[in-house]
């Protein structure tokens, strides 16, 4: 799943560490989210959306059923 975290973070001049502190996660998690290596949980997605002041749908781009690991 793609997201706009890096784009929004840079636009607001927030460092990865500052964002990590605000979301109570490690900086490595922010890096993995930005690189698309890790998909955030619903709770983290909600926290991130609150941080950027937008809805989850606008922050995370859902690309379809291929995102489901166990999908048929």
């Amino acid at each position: 799943m793609q997201n706009r975290i890096q784009e929004l973070r840079k636009a607001r001049k927030v460092t990865q560490q500052e964002l990590a502190d605000a979301l109570s996660v490690t900086r490595q998690t922010i890096i993995s989210l930005e690189n698309g290596k890790y998909n955030a949980s619903l709770i983290l997605a909600h926290k991130a959306a609150q941080f950027f002041g937008m809805t989850i749908e606008k922050l995370f781009i859902f690309e379809g059923e291929e995102n489901f690991k166990g999908g048929s």
Binding site: A20, S24, V25, T26, T29, Y38, I43, L44
Partner: protein, 143 residues
């Protein structure tokens, strides 16, 4: 954060208990297995030193963390970070499967040389499989 501090304090008490229990267990074993073979004594000594070292390391780390708010926050983030939790879950699942396969292969190989070792390994394998099934059933009912 206050809940996490209480959790760390409980961990500190538990580590102290492990430290004292392993010390008591070791001296009890030394007393009970006075005429035991060298290898048995060496193994019990090794297990004792290992447990004690880990407990002392953990005690020192926890003690230092409890006295430093910044370190406590770092520990909280490291332990509650969802990516770290996901990595730990994946690691334990994969390593458990790999070690069970390794044990199974070792049991087959040992069967050609020593019956006792082969049956011991099969027992370990069965115990691991049983533990996995029990834990799996527990979480299926819990979630």
């Amino acid at each position: 954060m206050e809940n996490f501090r209480k959790k760390v304090e409980r961990r500190f008490k538990l580590d102290t208990l492990v430290c004292l229990c392993s010390l008591a267990l070791y001296f009890m074993l030394v007393f009970l297995t006075n005429g035991a073979s060298d290898i048995a004594q060496a193994v019990s000594m090794g297990v004792f030193v290992g447990m004690e070292s880990f407990a002392v390391y953990s005690l020192t780390r926890t003690f230092a963390t409890l006295r430093n708010e910044k370190k406590l926050k770092e520990m909280y983030i490291n332990e509650t970070d969802e990516r770290n939790i996901a990595i730990n879950k994946e690691t334990s699942q994969k390593s458990s499967a790999i070690s069970m396969m390794g044990t199974a292969m070792a049991a087959v190989a040992a069967g050609f040389f020593n019956e006792k070792i082969c049956f011991s390994l099969v027992a370990v394998l069965l115990f691991s499989a049983l533990a996995t099934v029990i834990v799996n059933v527990y979480y299926k009912r819990k979630m």
